[in-house]
Subunit: 308 residues, 2 copies
Amino acid sequence: MAATGLPAVVPSVAALPEEVTIWEVGPRDGLQNEKSIVDVRVKLEFLDRLADAGLRVLEATSFVHPKWIPQLADAEELLAGLSKRDGVAYPVLVPNERGLDRALAAGVEHIAIFASATETFAARNLNRTLDSQFEMFDPVVTRARAEGLRVRGYLSMCFGDPWEGVVPADQVVAVGRRLLDMGCSQLSLGDTIGVATPGQVEALIAGFGDPAALAVHFHDTYGQALANTLAALRSGVSTVDSSAGGLGGCPYAESATGNLATEDLVWMLDGLGLRHGVDLAKLADTSVWMAERLGRPSPSRVVQALRG
Amino acid sequence: MAATGLPAVVPSVAALPEEVTIWEVGPRDGLQNEKSIVDVRVKLEFLDRLADAGLRVLEATSFVHPKWIPQLADAEELLAGLSKRDGVAYPVLVPNERGLDRALAAGVEHIAIFASATETFAARNLNRTLDSQFEMFDPVVTRARAEGLRVRGYLSMCFGDPWEGVVPADQVVAVGRRLLDMGCSQLSLGDTIGVATPGQVEALIAGFGDPAALAVHFHDTYGQALANTLAALRSGVSTVDSSAGGLGGCPYAESATGNLATEDLVWMLDGLGLRHGVDLAKLADTSVWMAERLGRPSPSRVVQALRG
């Protein structure tokens, strides 16, 4: 455990899952929130390096209209150029039926839809009501399932909303259950503005009853992401979203909305003795390499420390 | 809970202390690790502002020889100029008998000594063996207690050591118990290089048996500080060291050895519904003010988010 070493393995005295699935969102959620538009060849190398580092779920891109997210306008080209590995899933974000058409044409096997837990964010982000967003998702999920695809449901604003304030857990549970009932095999609970604290995380997960289909997606805006992850793991969740190098969160930007850095998560999981399959040194090398391409340092504390 | 609001109050389902004492180390541990040497008038205003924000323990300065820490060479001047508030403690760090002479002459009522949990750090930082460091501390503690002072013991390298790697918990417990037996009323367990993870924290605290005399001092070098704090609170510790604005940790420096930011801690405590007495907005204002004096942004995520 020198500066370039590994943490001491001391499992927690509280119950934790033995194995954690890291859902790597850097190539999609990370890059869509970076100012730079990254060349598709760099993205392909990034995905290869992440797979080399042992990550087994790589959210590759999004079929949102390029007008909204020019950073991911190359989704078709990316998927055409991708050398898929055995044992690695490459889910893509699909906002609507048009997106599903594109995803199916590109041979995608695993999609994610993006729902809102609040009325205001549904209106602003989806131009729908909380209720009518399901009319948009239902044909997407139904057709995707009929085509044999797996579907993840993202649920945003699960803890706080910039316009509505605290989001009641029962409201989140109600919306989340509809996504699961509709055919989503997994529900990712998003703290989109990064305000949640560990008690709130535990209460929401407990509200769902069974954590087996849940994942968590924390942003580190208020520095709470890893403490919240610990609370989620102790509540029985075993899938955690994170972004290599903290990609997507620009420190000292006007709004630091960064994802939890995968390296910071891996450091904790290593110390807790939980299996995850990731080679931390290789992953940090990859994040340093990507940070050089983006022209700014990685906001991951572990990446900074290992490279210090 | 808008961007400038407060977290939702949802107490954790696991046992936590109802009240947490924040031991603010910014004026001492923070400023001694900043490159800039801050004017004594700025330090005095800083201490006043921290007291205004509701902090009740302010580690004010250190009587280490100015040759080693020029940033705190003004300890006498600072204490002479300080307007002490009722209900606020102003402990100072005292390394040896010469330091105690200076502290007593300055009218200090509360000191802290600084010990090592490892052989190598004792040699490098104190020029002593693990065992012989007590010969240096014993007359300091004995005399301080005889003069009616309270004494805190800092114990550094409690989890990992850059030269020795993982530090065995039983070694830390043995050294820590000697400090308590010697007359320290509190023992602050320091993760000096920031490598600890929550299971390790729980195991060490459990090793002491009774957590009542323990405090924790986490560095965020590997992003683990707040998760470790949560683990410590759940293990019964109710005194947490932190540094306003994350002072002392320079992001993107060669070694980011930053203290846990008090604001990030307060955000979590607020969400967990634990009493601490700090006004977060006032504190963040103070950290912004100090960051301007240091000519660089605060590394605290909460400060960045509130000011975004």
